[in-house]
């Protein structure tokens, strides 16, 4: 960052700030006057952390737990999505006819059904046929407390594990289709000259792909893939319909119990925003840093 621009306040900036402040205050004054909404923010902090009377320590409450679950869910779903997407993307770009066919069927099917429908189908039909038969939850319950704590930190408690895994798989399959398209596009975007140059140096087709094309592809698709991770965070809200205790679900439960509708939705919005905005900023930072070297 050699030529860092100096931040300067212009008239437009000031107008913008005034506009935003007015918009927010209009929103709050209208909700409290016209809609006669009684704001009750004072209980909100205790839904993040509460003081445990027995131990005298602060403990995480529902919203923090939901936030952590959302992060865990997005992480595993992204990992699975990347695995599926990379395999399917390579198959789709350079595979045999059958491989390209399989990849196309996967991508087109998933991209053309709503994620909500996919998640529900997966939870009620697919997972009850396969996951429940594996008796993962029973095995986990009979395991020692150390194992339970570890899976609790990485995944979910024994009671939640089946639902959690089916959510990861459903989200992973869904994201995988988009990742597949990013990878396929990346591979196809490498100019033909690269192939020809590698062949003329005597590299085999396989070696050309692994040593010349793939490294360049990954460089091109790294940032679109990171963007897909952010989408996964946002898409993860959808698994609240199958009762995964992530941020949206916890928020809705809290609303049903307290009827603090606006306060909770606003808090949840801010939490999602913090998560996705900080990810997108760090990605943008990395992008600038590494783009220089190209």
């Amino acid at each position: 960052m050699l030529n860092k621009k100096k931040l300067k306040f212009t008239v437009i900036d000031i107008a913008m700030i005034i506009f935003i402040i007015t918009a927010i205050s209009i929103f709050f004054s209208r909700t409290s006057q016209v809609l006669d909404y009684k704001w009750e923010w004072d209980a909100m902090p205790s839904y993040f952390f509460f003081l445990d009377a027995a131990t005298g320590k602060f403990k995480a409450n529902i919203l923090v737990k939901g936030f952590v679950t959302t992060v865990k869910l997005s992480f595993w779903a992204t990992l699975l999505g990347f695995l599926l997407g990379i395999v399917s993307g390579i198959m789709g770009a350079k595979g045999s006819f059958e491989q390209r066919f399989i990849s196309r069927v996967y991508v087109e099917t998933i991209r053309n059904i709503p994620s909500l429908v996919l998640v529900i189908i997966f939870y009620y039909f697919v997972s009850s046929q396969f996951l429940d038969v594996l008796h993962l939850d029973t095995a986990l319950r009979q395991s020692g407390p150390a194992v339970q704590r570890m899976t609790g930190i990485l995944f979910a408690s024994p009671g939640q594990i089946n639902a959690f895994i089916s959510a990861i798989i459903a989200l992973g399959i869904y994201e995988g289709a988009y990742v597949s398209e990013i990878i396929r596009g990346g591979i196809n975007s490498i100019p033909n000259g690269q192939w020809e140059a590698a062949w003329s140096l005597g590299l085999s087709r396989k070696k050309t792909f692994l040593l010349v094309i793939l490294p360049q592809t990954f460089r091109r698709v790294a940032f679109p893939l990171a963007g897909q991770f952010i989408s996964t965070i946002k898409d993860s809200a959808i698994v609240s319909v199958i009762s995964i205790q992530e941020l949206t679900f916890q928020g809705m439960e809290l609303m049903s119990a307290t009827f603090l509708t606006f306060e909770i939705w606003i808090t949840i919005t801010v939490l999602y925003f913090i998560l996705t905005f900080s990810s997108s900023r760090s990605i943008a930072f990395l992008e600038r840093k590494y783009a220089l070297k190209e």
């Binding site: 909404y37 409450n61 046929q129 429940d132 639902a163 319909v241 009762s243 009827f259």
Partner: protein, 264 residues
Amino acid sequence: MRKILCLSALFILLMTTGLSARESIIEKIQKQGVIRVGMSTFVPWAMKDKQGNLTGFEIDVARKLAKDMGVKIEFVPTAWSGIIPALLTGKFDVIIGGMGITPQRNLKVNFTIPYDYSGMSMVAHKKKAKGFSSLADFNKKNVTIAVRMGTTAEQAARKHMPNATLKLFENESQALQELNLGRVHAVVSSAPMPVFHALKYPDKFFIPIQENFTKEPIGFAIKKSDHDALNYLNNWIINMHAQGFLKEKKAYWFGSKDWESLIK
């Protein structure tokens, strides 16, 4: 070819082990040492307290059941509209969630004898529903009523006010929000929630009909053809009626508001 054979054999094996597991849930619960209870948030049946723990009438009942069986309890909070499919696909063992026993639901699941009775009540907007005092007042084309989807409140509203327009919501808080915004004339829900809401905002809402306009038996729901479990649960409920446990809990959760400081 051999691969395909192996795979299909494995597949069939998986399917049959899934189907042959037809033991009673009572045995399964005891073997695993845990009962999984499906529920959904309904104030004051089941809700989260300030510490994020579940509390409420149903929660007390379910905890007592687990204690009497000598097993641990695991609650599975589930969206109400999908709670029966979730029971049928084995996401939990039993629904203890204030579920009204209706003939339609009974075709899909088995119900125990009632452990409680609930009734529908209605809270209305003072300005929008001015002067309304009977079901007939609400049974008009231009009246809108908000209810939670898939509940007996929805059925009651359809039956008693067939001409009114219904707005369906996934959660009760959304239905109430709609009333707060003055977009609907009234919200129908199981007592005592409507009364609580009217008490909380006495200048905005009122109770148009003092008595509950339906009476519904409430039971535990389990999968069909599990007679051992049905027998156990029925007798447990008879016992709890006899001991006065249910009456005492009902008085605490529905007759008082002592618990409100636990929630907010």
